[in-house]
């Protein structure tokens, strides 16, 4: 589903990704772990299409198409979802308005008809319920005044509403207490565990992986995948540290 080959990317002339290759097939969950500064978030932003992240070499193919050739909104319409490590607060735009517009923009780009206001509200409410998010928060401005945990739950509610094929979740577990971690983990399994979907979990710690079993674990260090393995690799990392395992 997603194939990254020899990806090099830089920010402000500084090379962060230095030849990263990775392939994620439909039905799989992959975890990318690594120390601070390894390039984990950069990978998420490059795949999401954030301006300012320049790809200098390599290729990324998503569902048979050249991902790097698409704008961020086109990537979303193609089925890519980027869960932010730090979701942005947007005063003056309600969650409901934002997500309905986003969903209908994606549908329009795919040549599908718009979802009505009533149908959308039903969908949004059911997703909020499943994630344990207060219904009132749907009406509030996007992420404004939300706690760290509420912002991450809101990311998952958005993912549930938009229904992507492929989710890149950047440190979705950071800032979560144990209940929220469980809710988010269950949300990822419920929304994304399907034969035609796939997930790339970017994380610093093993704890989210207790709830979302990865099929493969990769260690990212200094802009490259330095080691890959099964779920047991995450346990080794937690026990021995990155320096030991990545060496």
């Amino acid at each position: 589903m997603l194939k990254i080959e020899n990806l090099h990317a830089e920010i402000d002339g500084k090379e962060i990704l230095k030849g990263l290759s990775l392939e994620v097939n439909a039905g799989e969950v992959h975890a990318i772990m690594g120390p601070n500064g390894a390039g984990k978030s950069t990978l998420g932003y490059v795949l999401g299409g954030r301006p300012g992240y320049e790809v200098t070499a390599g290729s990324v193919t998503f569902a048979g198409k050249d991902l790097l050739d698409m704008e961020a909104d086109e990537r979303a319409a193609a089925g890519l979802f980027l869960g932010f490590q730090y979701p942005v607060e947007i005063p003056g735009i309600s969650n409901v308005q934002f997500l309905r517009e986003a969903l209908n923009a994606q549908r329009k780009a795919r040549g599908e008809g718009p979802v009505s206001g009533a149908d959308f509200l039903k969908l949004a409410r059911s997703q909020a319920d499943l994630l344990g998010m207060n219904q009132e928060m749907l009406k509030r401005p996007v992420n404004v005044g939300f706690s760290g945990g509420e912002k991450k739950r809101n990311e998952m509610v958005q993912m549930g509403i938009l229904g992507p094929k492929f989710a890149i979740l950047d440190e979705t577990d950071s800032g979560l207490d144990i209940d929220a971690l469980k809710a988010v983990g269950e949300g990822i399994n419920r929304i994304m565990r399907a034969p035609d979907k796939a997930v790339l979990l970017i994380t610093h710690y093993q704890r989210l992986l207790d709830y979302v079993q990865p099929d493969k674990v990769h260690v990212l260090a200094d802009g490259r995948i330095v080691k890959s393995g099964g779920p047991e690799l995450a346990v080794d990392l937690e026990r021995e540290g990155y320096a030991e395992v990545a060496a």
Binding site: G49, P51, I90, A102
Partner: protein, 362 residues
């Protein structure tokens, strides 16, 4: 030309951002028959009195004035533009306790200059709401004098939608004890403008608000220059203005709040914010506070910036095309000012006008 019209010049501090060249060009532009049907400028959802002025002349065919009188208005002002608006205009004079919601006044210009004076006098505890719409072209010049007796309330919403030319508004208001005046302006046309106002809170516990949004593009210049005077104790005032400037345009906001020595426990808020959609655009902000009382709360802020790149990417990453993401963020920015409009139908109409502007500008 200034010599002939005897207009203020930009050498005067209070007029330094005024676009007098556009005003003069509009004043001397040749009248053409207006292609706008005034009916389309009224909000159907409001069924109050309606008045239409074509090139400053009352047009009975498109009007049902109800309690609003069309008559000579003889009040004097020293204001250099306002004093030109003399002769026949409109008068809303309400007795104690009367209520007239949903008044709409539409001004259509076809070129050249037109001047209309107006006067709103609300008796004790009377309430009214007036929405004015400017369309067409030419120089539309208005003087509106407002006298609110104790406990009365006026909601005033004004939208400037002329395609070109110039609109100058001069408001002079006196607000008595526990009375309330809320004025919201939207400049979303292609004309130049000057919104000029002076509100005096002349009774205890009076409430005065004057704010709005100016949206400029091309080489357009719009400005607001307003003064709020607290003369008595326990008054509250709000000046919430938003300026959005694209291309080579200029939007300017000068807002001043004055608190007299006796106006203790004044609660004032002044918020001036500008948004530049291009680096070539200009926003001028001039916040001023002059406080002589010692027990006063006056919050104030003035900032100019660009759209937040992080927020843009966040919206885009969820599937919104870049132009729509920019429009949503800009809409939200302007929303702070337009949300002050009390009537839902008017608020929605103004928001829709702002959206139309955004879709064209972005």
């Amino acid at each position: 030309m200034s010599e002939v019209l005897d207009l203020p010049t930009t050498r005067q501090e209070g007029w330094r951002w005024a676009d007098m060249a556009t005003l003069e060009a509009a004043a001397t532009s040749a009248p053409a028959s207006p292609a706008i049907d005034p009916k389309t400028l009224f909000l159907d959802t409001l069924d109050g009195p309606r008045l239409t002025f074509i090139d400053g002349i009352f047009e009975p065919a498109h009007s049902r004035p109800g309690p609003v009188q069309v008559t000579a208005i003889g009040e004097a002002t020293e204001h250099p533009l306002g004093r030109r608006a003399a002769g026949e205009g409109w008068l809303l004079s309400l007795d104690k306790g009367a209520a007239v919601p949903g008044i709409q006044i539409v001004h259509v210009g076809s070129g050249g200059e037109n001047h209309v004076p107006a006067r709103i006098e609300l008796g004790e505890d009377a309430t009214a709401s007036v929405t004015e719409t400017f369309a067409g072209s030419g120089w539309a010049n208005r003087l509106t004098q407002i006298v609110l007796a104790r406990g009365s309330r006026l909601m005033r919403s004004v939208r400037l939608l002329q395609t070109d030319g110039f609109v100058s508004i001069r408001d002079e208001a006196t607000v008595a004890q526990a009375a309330s005046l809320v004025s919201v302006f939207l400049g979303a046309g292609g004309m130049g403008s000057r919104i000029d106002g002076e509100i005096r809170l002349a009774g205890e516990g009076a409430y005065g608000e004057m704010g709005g949004a100016l949206l400029t593009r091309g080489s357009q210049k719009q400005e607001a220059a307003v003064v709020l005077r607290h003369a008595e104790p326990d008054g509250t005032s709000r000046q919430v203005w938003r300026a959005v400037a694209a291309d080579m345009s200029t939007a300017s906001l000068a807002a001043r709040a004055e608190v007299a020595r006796d106006a203790q426990r004044t609660d004032g808020e002044q918020s001036l914010r500008g948004l530049l959609l291009n680096r070539s655009a200009t926003v001028n902000l001039k916040p001023e506070l002059e406080i002589f009382a010692d027990d006063v709360k006056c919050a104030h802020g003035a900032t100019v910036g660009e759209l937040d790149e992080r927020a843009l990417f966040y919206l885009q990453s969820r599937g919104l095309p870049p132009a729509r993401a920019r429009a949503l963020l800009t809409h939200a920015f302007v929303g702070d000012a337009l949300d002050r409009i009390g009537e839902e139908a008017v608020r929605e109409a103004f928001a829709a006008d702002a959206d139309t502007w955004l879709e064209e500008a972005l």
